[in-house]
Symmetry: C2
Amino acid sequence: MKPFRDLIPFDKAREILLAHVPELKDKENVELTQAVGRVLAEDVRSPVSVPPFDRAAEDGYAVIAQDTFDAGQYSPVELEIVGRINTGEYKKIRVEHGQAVEVATGAMLPEGANAVVRVEDTEKEDTKLRVYRAVHPGFDVAPAGEDIKSKATVLKKGELLMPSKIGALAAVGIANVNVYKKPEVAILPTGDELIEPGAALVPGKIYDVNSYTLSSVVLENGGVPKVYGYVRDNVQDIEEKLKQGLKHDMVVFSGGSSVGERDLLVQVISSMGKILFHGVQIKPGKPTWAALVNGKLVFGMPGFPTSCLNDAYQFLVPALRKMAHLPPKREITVKAKMSRRITSTLGRQQFFTVRLEGDIAYPAYKTSGAITSLANSDGYIIIPATVDLVEKGEIVEVHLWR
Amino acid sequence: MKPFRDLIPFDKAREILLAHVPELKDKENVELTQAVGRVLAEDVRSPVSVPPFDRAAEDGYAVIAQDTFDAGQYSPVELEIVGRINTGEYKKIRVEHGQAVEVATGAMLPEGANAVVRVEDTEKEDTKLRVYRAVHPGFDVAPAGEDIKSKATVLKKGELLMPSKIGALAAVGIANVNVYKKPEVAILPTGDELIEPGAALVPGKIYDVNSYTLSSVVLENGGVPKVYGYVRDNVQDIEEKLKQGLKHDMVVFSGGSSVGERDLLVQVISSMGKILFHGVQIKPGKPTWAALVNGKLVFGMPGFPTSCLNDAYQFLVPALRKMAHLPPKREITVKAKMSRRITSTLGRQQFFTVRLEGDIAYPAYKTSGAITSLANSDGYIIIPATVDLVEKGEIVEVHLWR
């Protein structure tokens, strides 16, 4: 009985995994007000020009630029004010030589005019306007289509809809948009010992943590968690729950993957699909496996909350984000000094949680069973598989949880 | 007519602003599955110990450690197997000297036992167990309360509920939690020229962008956007809409704050509350103002989409996050080389948008009216108010939008 004959390195496991993650093609139509953070599922071309008409870029007077060429600070040109156009108004006025129309910023330029003289470069007396500055044609005019041309591609399929992109869609008048559907992730904690938070504890049982941490990670990374009841440790229940889980886009089991007599889960999955890897050179998370069943990704994560959540960050997040067409999560790291010497297991890449106080990193790790190893930490350091010791005072790179 | 007599520096504006942002006290009770990203509104103490009982940390045999002291690789100690406890089971078995009880990882330790011998250090033959390794008391036992002690403070008021913290709450059996309510932000674009995306364009009108970008920014930063119809440029409508807006926690106007004849908004607000600042030494965003009306923060942002969205990132986000008890947004920056020389206005801190290709930053800025100045950019560089030129090839720090 030698478990995990084929432990593979972390990078290899992640590479295999990502090579097998399908990018979902399903779309849904959402209102623009709800589209932030979603991913565009098709190219969007503009049905209009933005701005839709030549408009004034400043408060002032629409003029024929040529009329101002002789104007100067001490030699004003005099024009006749023949009307006013407010922002949002449409007026059929035409500017002829010697004339000016008062315009507000954003107002449609009247026909005939080709420039705007700013209000501060003028003096008004009844309908007489003195212009103290020469302007060239196009001055302070935002021409139609300056921002976006009609029929131009505004955004491309696959773009993440940040606020500015939402703005570009609004600008061309789009109120609904096709985005990729969020991947649904079935969450299936296994174990006869689990009871739901909120229920009363009974001897031998513990509260389920993994449904909640996994759901949270899924929510934070563009997925929809689907939490099922607990999978009991028998073949029939595993098969039944797996069948339910496979209705969704990805399935995550937790627990049931250590090497004991009752390790049924991996056996059942092997018989139904293809194991991509089983056993990774990491700590925590050694017994992690991933499989493809009916073309869908199925994960097996350790039952210990800290191991499971670390696995979620290291494997589930990149897989889910790829599936959802989201860019990889940006890691935020800071440098810190290790508060004391820590040892690690050769041959296992360790994710070691730390708490930061100023630029000192204190170990937050208690035991792999302890959720507080994570909950009381600010991030983790990675100790490579080839390193068994981090010295006190050594500079480490802390990967922050947020 | 000299506008913006009291332009203040950006840092000063932000400082004044943050000094006047109230932290909301209202709480709401949410299910743990929905609590990720929220902020805890009270300390949480554990009603239980985690684990709730001494449990096996590995698959193996619960023993009295003293019975194994003479065991060695070539001199096994023989014990009698008197039962088995599965994970999640409660059995009233007592281990006496010379006895062992088979246990699975996570199973409750039987009475009398004080250590676990791992399965790989044993050999089983019917009910005979040969132990090949001495273990000390407590070996591979996770004692009750090892992770979290009963009545201990698990999480403190004000903590951001990341997945690991959600896990700690689940571990102590908490299914619902009191969090701070999300601030509601009334969004009030002003201007007679605005029409809603989805509607048909008519001459002189443009599509409203700011409702959509502002809503998106609010959603991304822990707030609830409340979008109202467009504020028309007259005193009555401004007063009426402001009254509606003040039912929420913060009010954001956009448009109507440049210095023109029709700049009614600032006048109306001044008469109803206290202007905190009006005019900031930034580009874009110079005409920005903030006020307190009935103790509530009211913003006036420029109507130009790019200026408005930049303002949202620079002023609204920090204010909203403080109000929501969220930590400041983490800025992600990268170094890049400027593709060409760019000029800036002395006396104005410029937020200049750029597009990244490899380590080269290309200007993305078109005009302050162009939403594509932002939508086609990856981030922005800050050109200080005292700098009027960035040379081609100069190393700049790009603040990424995500």
